[in-house]
Amino acid sequence: MRASLLASTRRVFELALGQMLWARRTAVLALAAAAPVLLALVTRLTLSSGSAVVQINGRQIGSEAVFSTAIAALYLRFIVPAIGVFYGTSLIADEVEDRTITYLFVRPIPRGAIVLGKYLAYLLCVTSVVLPSAAVVFMVMVPFQDMAPQFGTFVRHLGVLALGLAAYGAVFLWAGVLFRRPLVGGLLFVFGWEQLAAVLPGYLGRFTIAHYLQADTTSVAALLTTTIAALWLAMRTIERREYVVER
């Protein structure tokens, strides 16, 4: 008898979360999340001591503006897409590569539950590292007396980070279900196409995820739609696809 999708998803989620959190890959993730915190500490100490000032176009930039820049340049441009590619593509592709996918497929659970459970574990794992990292950067960079006007922006940034992780993860999970070696394509998409489309004139930017990493209704709707669509396609693909495990 096949277990229900929900119960199976929960089982896969619990199993995958433990594996994911204590894997070597998480150490890399922790390093990626710790780097902005260290950078924030150094910047704050430097700015507080007055030994240096950050200037753009001759205009002095305060620590709160540095926080917004860190979120835009470090997290949204680099950390979130990179995590999405590395984790998303590996969720299923690694099981195929390690020839362990068979053990999951022979369980009396819907194949879609494997995708969904692993994806939810990925989402919890990466948000529990990236969001606290951004929160620490906020507390370090923005003085308490300046926090009030920045608080709304901070909450929006957290939401965008979570949605970005969800969208990139879902898209690359689908890529991992579709292709045998999706990492190279994923890296090309994120650090090639997305960067190129951002500087090209016209509407090409709309065919990237990075374009929608903003806190407005259209962008949130686009990210949610992308996430749900990619997740559904990944579940549908894994249900129908034949995987040939190489010996």
């Binding site: 433990g18 529990s128 606290p132 929160a135 906020f138 009030a148 957290l158 806190a215």
Partner: protein, 329 residues
């Protein structure tokens, strides 16, 4: 789920909650501080525009000294007239001024005169006797002393709302302000959307928030002006003054498309200004400091007038060091 996994997740959630709680405390403290501002408690919820200036902060700022040097003028024009009518010396008696307007009736084009709330040190007896000498009548309303001056050309009232706090404007407006303070009418503090914008800009030495949405049939500016404006719902501006001026203007457009159009228009004006001011280092440095950002329906423009830019604007160049201007206490 293993124990170490649970511990990790709780720790991550803890960090996030601490950051959110800290931010929330900072935000709530700020909200309550703004809501507790006595001046805002007198502003009725029907106000479409509120503007505030920390007069003491402005007058005591090095920036003000530089502007005075630049203009080579004495006291601001009109201050003598105010002194003659009310006995109030604007530059020494007033610490802060808040102006609130309920706007213009879009159909009748009738301007509702604004409410002016001033905090400072006022000689009540002198003000009262001056207004009495011009035919003013003293009355009591909600336990406060109101002096009204009503004739064919004028309908003015002045109320001593609190020690050091004056309300000035048309009689109905002043009475409405006292109603709002007494809780008999809704005050602007109950308008969370308005207050959110006020809280966003109220750290400035001077700030203003205006609701431009004409859905209510009222607008803060005359229809002739409103017709020239792009579709904007809200407008907020703030300026922080120290040795220089740091200004920020924010407009909330009706939709994303309007925001993009507005941004394009402002960008066009900036390009034109850069073209015009390219040869002048003073204007060029000011224009270089201009930052235009658009996110969703919000378009923001910030700029700095630095002391160096002021030096360039002053014909004689940087000021020579000499005796400092006496500061107001």
């Amino acid at each position: 789920m293993k124990k170490r996994t649970r511990v990790f997740l709780f720790a991550a959630a803890g960090v996030l909650i601490v950051a959110l709680a800290t931010g929330l405390v900072a935000w709530a403290t700020r909200v309550s501080a703004a809501a507790a501002t006595d001046e805002l408690a007198y502003v009725p919820a029907t106000a479409l525009m509120v503007a505030y200036a920390d007069v003491r902060g402005l007058m005591n700022s090095p920036f003000h000294d530089r502007i005075r040097q630049l203009q080579h003028t004495g006291p601001a024009a009109g201050s003598d007239d105010l002194e003659a009518r009310t006995g109030i010396r604007f530059d020494t008696d007033v610490d802060g001024v808040l102006v609130a307007s309920s706007g213009v009736d879009a159909l009748q084009e009738r301007v509702d005169a604004s409410l002016l709330i001033a905090r400072g040190r006022f000689d009540g007896n002198r003000i009262e006797s001056l207004m009495r000498s011009r035919g003013g009548q003293v009355d009591q309303y909600r336990g406060k002393r109101i002096i009204t001056l009503t004739n064919a050309t004028s309908d003015t009232a002045l109320a001593f709302a609190e020690p050091g706090l004056l309300l000035f404007g048309p009689q109905t407006t002043v009475r409405g302000a006292l109603d709002a303070k007494a809780g008999a009418a809704a005050a602007i503090g109950s308008n969370s959307e308005f207050m959110a914008l006020v809280n966003d800009v109220s750290d400035g030495t001077a700030w203003s928030v205006a609701k431009l949405d004409s859905a209510s049939g009222r607008t803060p500016f005359p229809p002739a002006v409103m017709n020239q404006l792009p579709p904007i719902n809200w407008f907020a501006a703030s300026g922080r003054v120290d040795t220089g001026l740091h200004g920020r203007v924010r407009a909330e457009a009706r939709d994303v498309q309007s925001a993009e159009s507005l941004r394009d228009v402002v960008q066009g004006f900036l390009a034109l200004a850069r073209l015009q001011g390219a040869r002048d280092p003073a204007y060029r440095s000011m224009l270089d400091s201009v930052a235009l950002t658009a996110a969703g329906t919000s378009v923001s423009l910030s700029f700095d007038v630095t002391p160096a830019a002021l030096d360039l604007l002053t014909p004689a160049g940087p000021p020579q060091r000499g005796p400092a201007t006496p500061r107001r206490q």
